[in-house]
Symmetry: none
DNA sequence: CATGAATGAGAGTTCATTCAT
DNA sequence: GATGAATGAACTCTCATTCAT
């Protein structure tokens, strides 16, 4: 039985090696410029090998984005559950930002890139996406129940919040902060977040 | 001089034909799938001709984004100058959204796509980008002078605002609103904007 | 010995499973598009397994054509032996046609396809081919002895006859009857055969 | 004007170089094994170049088969028009054989190969094929009008004749005469044709 | 000014086959 | 006896780009 287990493990490791390499290249060069050959070369395997683990490029990148959603959801899950709703909401914002900064490649794949999303939205990735979305909407509801955001449409509110963090992150990831000095980026980003938080407080 | 003038004019027209065709194809198929040959074919010219007007694909698309910045700036300039600062700020938000919805291809090129940004930040596009940016920062300053946004860092504030609209638009352009029904998108987007505006009012 | 026998039998069954699957795929998609992996997948075995039974693709398809020759010969053998030679000759023609229509894939492999012929002409298939050929030549001889085909070279005559049926069949199998309506094909084919028979009668 | 003409000519020559090379390789290795790369290499050009003259592999081989049909028709047209119908019919048979022997690659493409026929039958090749077919049927009609082939269906008769020559030729081209010595092939083939002719005479 | 001709590089993908286990 | 893992070679085709004219 040890053999079967080891094989299982090796297979998984290979899959992960591919995903890891793909992520890396993808982060450096973007989707279109990351080729199957490239990935294979970087892994020091033959291109054919990748096709043993993934049907085609789309499937590989879809798997990648699923991986991303898993990670994203686990980030969100780290938010302490016992905070007052508003604090928890703000904490989620910070975590969101952290995820994007820690894993810009995944974020890009999941929320910006157009390419591999076209197929399958029925799979795990989609579900995790929905679950993440409802983490946000339910905390917004709790805030409202707690007396915040009086008279506001919770869906629009949630979307507004998400849009803001998405905007911050997207500027960063797609390198559109060139009008600021590099060393300012961090302050700018987190400063904006804190202003946004304050703004929410006053609602 | 008539001759020289005509030649000048013809050159300009050719340039514009190329840009127009490139925009069209790019809007339909995205950056990576818009090839030099594609453009040439659509124009009924030879691919080589394009190289007489643009050094390479990057430069062509950079020129395109410049065009976009010109348009963007002219949109922003349409905001009535005689409104109270807060109203003008909100109006700019609406205009921003309108630009992105009217010209998603340009928006993508200017603010999302990584590809053609790699070169030159010195050209006209950059300058217009900066000018647009200062439209925002100066109106924010005016708001502050008018008693709003007390004690806040105007740069961070401006960036926060920009991030929000950018986020809204990017979700839309990159097709990440699939968890909502199609017919909800418009309401969601503008609803979020109005909530955001209200939020700013209370700051 | 029971064990050895069972193993022997299992080996044979496996061989036949492979051949059966290969035939099926080959008939559906043609030689070049039938890949070892395809066959393996359809069998739900690994590609490697096939190589335990056949040296390479060519050998597999050669074995297949042997199978075809066996079947072909058994078709020919069904011709009643007690007919007058001319009738028997005509009957063989009809049987030939029937074989080709019943098993176009085999016919193709045996008599049209270039690929798997390149190897071995020594094996069983060759022998059966020769035997089939001599079924024809000997019946032609009998006809001559019976007073038919006066003064004609029996080998050339036999070849002429074979060529005709081969031609009919090949047009059909390789889909070169498009200038006729589909529903005419059958009548055309058998009509031609009957005309040919009549022609032979008058020789 | 000399320039335009020369360019025109060069272009045509290039096209013909490609077709020539493709034919050659195709004759040696068959359709599936003749790759665009192969052709390019044999021409000492880059593969891309071929695509300047032919949209894809299919189109290249379709052009080839058209070329073949043109040639085929011109062979048939060489049959003297002033012979008595039966003699003309026999002459056409000999010419048919000659075409196939002179240009086995074309014959294969036109009448045996399955691959590139699937598309376009509206073009020139199809038309020439039809015209060739009607050369045969009309001569058969003439023979009937001249008192031959009494009471026979002319279409079936024509198809019977065509099948015979096609069979002879196909055996030859697809190398299925291995049971005869090489030096016999010619005699066998033409002998069969003469027997067939005699047979027709007696009808 | 514009082009036709050509190319090297590279894309994604599939193939027959081998080898260690 | 059978397989899972892997590969090198090949496939068709498209790309951005250059150069002689």
């Amino acid at each position: 039985m040890g053999i079967a287990e080891r094989k299982e493990r090796e297979k998984k490791e290979m899959r992960e090696l591919i995903l890891r390499t793909a992520t890396k290249l993808f982060m450096e060069n973007g989707y279109e410029k990351t080729s199957m050959r490239n990935i294979a070369e970087a892994m020091e395997y033959s291109p054919t090998t990748i096709y043993l683990y993934f049907k085609d490029k789309n499937e590989l990148f879809y798997a990648l984005s699923e991986e991303g959603f898993r990670m994203f959801f686990s980030y969100l899950s780290q938010a302490p559950k016992d905070l007052p709703p508003m604090e928890r909401l703000k904490e989620l914002g910070r975590i969101y930002l952290k995820f994007a900064i820690d894993h810009p490649g995944y974020y890009d794949l999941m929320f910006i890139l157009r390419a591999p999303m076209e197929s399958h939205h029925t799979a795990e990735g989609w579900e995790l996406g929905m679950k993440s979305h409802s983490v946000l909407t339910s905390i917004v509801h709790e805030c409202i129940n707690g007396g915040h955001f009086k008279g506001m449409n919770p869906d629009q509110l949630a979307f507004m919040i998400w849009s803001f963090v998405h905007g911050v992150v997207t500027f960063q990831i797609r390198d559109r902060l060139k009008m600021y000095e590099d060393h300012e980026h961090h302050e700018l980003t987190y400063g904006a977040l804190e202003i946004f938080n304050e703004m929410m407080d006053r609602l």
